[in-house]
């Protein structure tokens, strides 16, 4: 029989944070929230406090010099989680400036002990702890040292069964600092400014007794507070493993909504596949994607689209708009320039689950790359890989469009070298025939399935894409300058 202690985990009330903490915050733990000024430490602390504090588990918030409490209250009220009704009911603020400025840690400890004894809090916050540490340097010889103080504080607060947070601007160079050893958990917040975008990052450096999600996650602060976008959601996904053994068992195929294209794909796009549609500007990628979604709607298969570029006046875009307005497909439309891929993935996964979507379009990867904060662009390929893996794990069928620079000297399918990421590829090209630009399309690959290898001419009409016959009597089409091989009539 197992009589080991069971550690309860508290739900922090910060979306995404519990996931990267490995299931929530261990009760009675002694934690540090650290990061540079403006990284969101106090906001994180407040958001957790307002979510966790109850009459049965009240919170004590000690403010120490640093940020004037007046200002803290003034600014924190701007967030939706700030609930004035909880103050003095389940949350109490206590200002320790006077005690700390005496530089006598015994006195500070006594004051904290006294307040803790009176209020019996389940949660204790000390903001900011750095002020306490600065005072420590002015300690007279022989007085209680900072290390002792922290150890005693840790013992005291654990004894009183409180979950504790010390908030402060520590730098990681001083990682040997005693406070880092004493702490059960360390949450590091950071913000990176790169060119014109700002990206906030969160890292769980330490959390005793549970498996946290390693690595750097991104988060965003809005009027609702902090939302964390766990990167681990992507990395831990079984989708990558599934992709390798998925090919032999194609269970169902999806109609593309473009006549004759299904035949070219060998009977439609296998369900759960990812399809890359690559082509130069104006070749009809978005129209193909729209047809794919519209066909799904017609068959009662809801869809979702992430649109990074849109020109509202275009008729095909109206179709997307109509479907979105009718609630048949979900839309994420963003032109913000400071996204993290994890944030987009998170929003897309939420949307897919809400819409019960089975068809997903990302239009386009080129727009996506622009929308992603510059600091993530270096890892764009890796991130795409993770995104495709997550979507595969959800079992949805994905169509990604990719702008393809018109180059007739080489045959390329994607500017990211990411053609291998997807299960199927359709490429669109312009060709010049008798002084006219014509469009051709070909299925390059459909993993684990027979498919057409023909280059087909196609046109874009008011009804959508109309695929013509194979271009049989020309060669060198992909060079952009086809030569006629037979004396038959011109292709048309």
């Amino acid at each position: 029989m197992n009589n080991n202690v069971v550690i309860h985990r508290l739900a922090t009330g910060v979306p995404g944070l519990d996931v990267i903490l490995g299931g929530g915050l261990p009760e009675f733990s002694f934690n540090l929230i650290i990061g540079p000024p403006g990284s969101g430490k106090t906001t994180l602390a407040h958001q957790m406090m307002f979510a966790l504090a109850t009459r049965e588990r009240p919170a004590l918030y000690f403010t120490v010099l640093g940020e004037p409490p007046l200002k803290m209250l003034r600014y924190q009220q701007q967030y939706a989680f700030f609930d004035g009704d909880q103050i003095d009911e389940s949350i109490r603020f206590v200002n320790l400036s006077g005690d700390v400025s005496t530089g006598n840690f015994d006195q500070v400890l006594a004051r904290i002990t006294q307040e803790v004894a009176v209020f019996s809090p389940g949660l204790v916050f000390v903001d900011s702890f750095r002020s306490v540490m600065l005072e420590a340097q002015r300690q007279p010889e022989g007085a209680i040292g900072l290390q002792q103080f922290i150890q005693q504080l840790g013992i005291l607060l654990t004894g009183w069964q409180t979950t504790t947070f010390l908030i402060g601007e520590y730098s990681l160079e001083k990682e040997t600092h005693p406070v880092f050893t004493v702490a059960d958990g360390i949450v590091l917040l950071d913000q990176n400014v790169h060119r014109n975008s700002m990206v906030r990052k969160i890292q769980i450096l330490k959390m005793r007794g549970q498996a946290t999600s390693p690595g750097i996650h991104t988060f965003r602060i809005s009027s609702a507070g902090i939302v964390v976008f766990p990167a681990a959601l992507v990395r831990d996904d079984p989708g990558t493993a599934a992709a390798t053994d998925r090919a032999p068992r194609i269970e169902a195929r999806l109609a593309m909504g473009v006549p004759r294209l299904d035949d070219m794909l060998g009977g439609g796009l296998p369900a759960g596949y990812s399809l890359l549609v690559a082509g130069p500007s104006g070749s009809g990628k978005t129209i193909l994607a729209t047809a794919f979604l519209a066909e799904g709607v017609r068959r009662g298969e809801p869809g979702a689209i992430v649109a990074f570029e849109q020109t509202p006046s275009q008729s095909r875009v109206r179709t997307i708009d109509q479907m979105v307005r009718a609630g048949q497909i979900g839309l994420i439309n963003t032109r913000s320039l400071d996204l993290s891929i994890d944030e987009i993935v998170q929003r897309l996964v939420d949307l897919i689950q809400r819409m019960k979507a089975t068809r997903v379009v990302i239009d386009s990867l080129s727009g996506f790359e622009l929308a992603v904060a510059p600091t993530f662009r270096e890892d764009f390929r890796e991130s795409l890989f993770r995104m495709v893996a997550v979507l595969a794990g959800l079992g949805v069928t994905v169509l990604l469009t990719s702008e393809l620079e018109d180059r007739y000297t080489d045959l390329r399918f994607s500017p990211y070298g990411s053609a291998f990421l997807t299960d199927a590829i359709i490429v669109q090209r312009y060709i010049e025939v008798e002084s006219r630009l014509k469009r051709v399309m070909a299925v390059v690959k459909v993993r684990g399935s027979a498919h057409s290898n023909e280059l087909r001419q196609f046109e874009i009409t008011a009804e959508g894409i109309v695929i013509g016959d194979p271009v049989l009597d020309y060669e060198g089409l992909l060079s952009g300058q086809p030569r006629r091989t037979l004396a038959s009539g011109p292709i048309d």
């Binding site: 004037p68 003034r74 103050i87 003095d88 200002n95």
Partner: protein
């Protein structure tokens, strides 16, 4: 800040001061009541916004109020809060009761408004509610300007 909050705070302050000073008070009773009310306000606020925060707001309120009541101005004030309060008490006690009452209403009212602009009406009300005493009579609340 909305007029309703403004009126409610002023009514609460007037009621509390009237209750605290007793029936037909002289100026020194009013001064005593003002300081008592102020101390209860400060006791509520100091743990939340810090004693220094309270002192800073009070100093500013006194400064603003002395524009209307020049006799309140503390020239050469050394900045210590205790000295400020002693001076305030003496000045209030030296006035006609009506003027003293009006000035102390205005002072505490200005302080409350200042706090409201900084931390919002609901939090201000939440923090100060335990300070206010029910007024001796409803009519007194209504008749005041």
């Amino acid at each position: 800040m909305s007029t309703t909050n403004h009126d409610r705070h002023h009514a609460a302050i007037r009621g509390t001061l009237a209750r605290s000073a007793g029936d037909s008070p002289d100026a020194s009773a009013i001064a005593e009541a003002t300081l008592n009310t102020w101390r209860r306000m400060a006791d509520r606020l100091a743990p939340v916004i810090g004693a220094r925060g309270v002192d800073a707001l009070f100093g500013r309120s006194l400064h603003v109020t002395s524009k209307t009541f020049p006799w309140l101005a503390m020239a050469g004030n050394d900045g210590s809060n205790a000295a400020l309060l002693t001076g305030l008490k003496a000045r209030l006690a030296g006035q006609e009761p009506a003027a003293a009452a009006e000035a102390s209403d205005a002072l505490l009212g200005n302080f409350t408004e200042l706090l409201t602009t900084l931390i919002g009406a609901s939090l201000t009300e939440r923090l100060l509610a335990p300070v206010w005493l029910p007024s001796p009579s409803e009519s007194e609340q209504e008749s005041a300007p």
